[in-house]
Amino acid sequence: MEAFLASPFGVLIITALQTLAMLVPLLIAVAYMTYAERKIMAAMQMRVGPNVVGPLGLLQPFADAAKMLMKETIIPSGANRALFILGPMLTFMLAMIAWAVIPVNEGWAIADINVGILYLFAVSSLGVYGIIIAGWASNSKYAFLGALRSAAQMVSYEVSMGLVIVTVLLCVGSLNLTQIVLAQKTVWFFIPLFPMFIIFFISTLAETNRPPFDLAEGESELVAGFMVEYSSMTYALFFLGEYANMFLMSAMTTTLFLGGWLPPMDITPFNWLPGPIWFILKICLCMFTFVWVRATFPRYRYDQLMRLGWKVFLPFSLIWLVLTAFVLKLAGWLPA
């Protein structure tokens, strides 16, 4: 048995099982996130929310999924067929493959690679392609406008996100995600780097095209932006991709700033809960904030969005990066 597990075939099977163990809970969480979002927003707006399908409306996600599957996939006659299908598939795939490096507990990452954070950043920066390709292949003005907006927006906010990540890396001295979490044993990074934590969170909102930065789909002017021509399962893939991306960004925030799987303090009542539970709780906190922001803020105007990205976040994070480097160097806190 040992010999079999060490053989290439055995490794393949183990990796496949690990991947399933990661993705199945993720997809269930995505399904229930749509329900949670509707319930939370309903509560904030003094409505009831979904309550018909199943007890407390708990079967609503499955009803939605079944509806999506049953509908007809319509491909517009002017569309570029191959790219039209590729767009949503790419969005969904990219939202899934990033989870390969997320450490849920010490040693619980499918691939604990040296450059984990760079891998995450690379994958999240590719997310824009699904949207651009979809918008262009639809051969529709609304979709195209949405795609262009989203391309400019995501590239702008990636710059400040990159600088925030570099700031965290300065404090850790490693690109490995497990090392990043372990470096937060004394204090979670959101306390010393609080402004960067805020910038990172707002950038993740822009990066996932969530309100108040959802100009790519702005339903009041672009109908649904890049998704306007999509139907049934292709539409559902965009939807799943968007929510999985939100989870991914929450996991990134948790890993970089909220101490990953670490309990708030290493004392008795807190370390009763195992690491993965803490990790999930922190992700839930971030996801709740995503919904909270959606229910609270009106949509940004496009020029204000660009101004915020380039004229506020970029200079601020650059200055904070240099400051962090100075403080670390002068105080002798630079990790070896």
């Binding site: 003094m46 040296n114 450059v115 760079l118 690379a122 920066s125 392609y129 262009l148 590239v155 101004r307």
Partner: protein, 234 residues
């Protein structure tokens, strides 16, 4: 065995997509093939053990440069028939230039001489101590050993950037109104903070719904059409 197979697969896809970049009719497809080429190059970096370079290639070239490239190319309004019209006229010139370049490359290759210790130098470019990741080794090289060259490269890029900005900068203050967010937010009446009890709505702030004008009553029309106003149908 698997590594060699993967190398050939990645290399073959890389070359094939590079060819498609040049030959495909649609410029958007060209850019997408360019992206595929970048990906395969990054995979080759990974196989060579240069994981940092592989990730940076994806982040910088695929995640930023190619996005802007695609952005521009998608907005171009290109007439393909017009593009192909001059093909026969320009083909001889292009062919001659290509042939000259090819011949020059052949000459260069023919007279190329390797340093006598090139093979050993190639084996270990940098004396890397064991246990140092290639990210760290690269960082030491760029930021410690060759920091002045690095700074000079940065300055050259800065000059190029300033040039691009100067070329595109226009003074728009004459004919456009700018939004000054600070003054806008600082207006006395701009923001009002109140604590509204749940369910009370805006009425507690003295904001009431404007009374809608009463809908005009339907006019009574005197029907002289006997078919409708008269009693009974026919």
């Amino acid at each position: 065995m698997i590594a060699a197979l993967a190398f050939y697969v990645f290399a073959a896809i890389l070359i094939a997509s590079a060819v498609m970049v040049v030959t495909s009719r649609n410029p958007v497809h060209s850019v997408l093939f360019l992206i595929l080429a970048f990906f395969n190059a990054s995979a080759l970096f990974l196989m060579a053990g240069a994981e940092f370079l592989a990730m940076i290639l994806v982040i910088v070239y695929v995640g930023a440069v190619a996005v802007l490239f695609l952005f521009i190319v998608m907005m171009l309004d290109i007439d393909f028939t017009q593009l192909r019209q001059g093909f026969q006229r320009y083909a001889p010139v292009g062919g001659v230039i290509g042939a000259i370049l090819f011949l020059e490359l052949l000459f260069v290759y023919g007279s190329w001489q390797f340093a006598p210790d090139a093979a050993t130098l190639r084996m270990n470019v940098v004396p890397v101590e064991p246990g140092v990741s290639n990210t760290e080794a690269l960082g030491r090289l760029v930021y410690t050993d060759y920091v002045f060259l690095f700074q000079v490269a940065g300055l050259i890029l800065l000059v190029a950037m300033i040039g691009a900005i100067v070329l595109t900068l226009r003074d728009k203050s004459v004919d456009s109104k700018r939004q000054d967010i600070a003054t806008q937010v600082a207006r006395a009446e701009a923001v009002v903070l109140t604590k509204v009890p749940a369910g009370a709505g805006l009425a507690t702030m003295g904001i009431t719904r404007r009374k809608l004008p009463e809908a005009p009553k339907p006019k009574a029309v005197a029907h002289d059409d006997p078919g409708h106003s008269g009693g009974g149908h026919h």
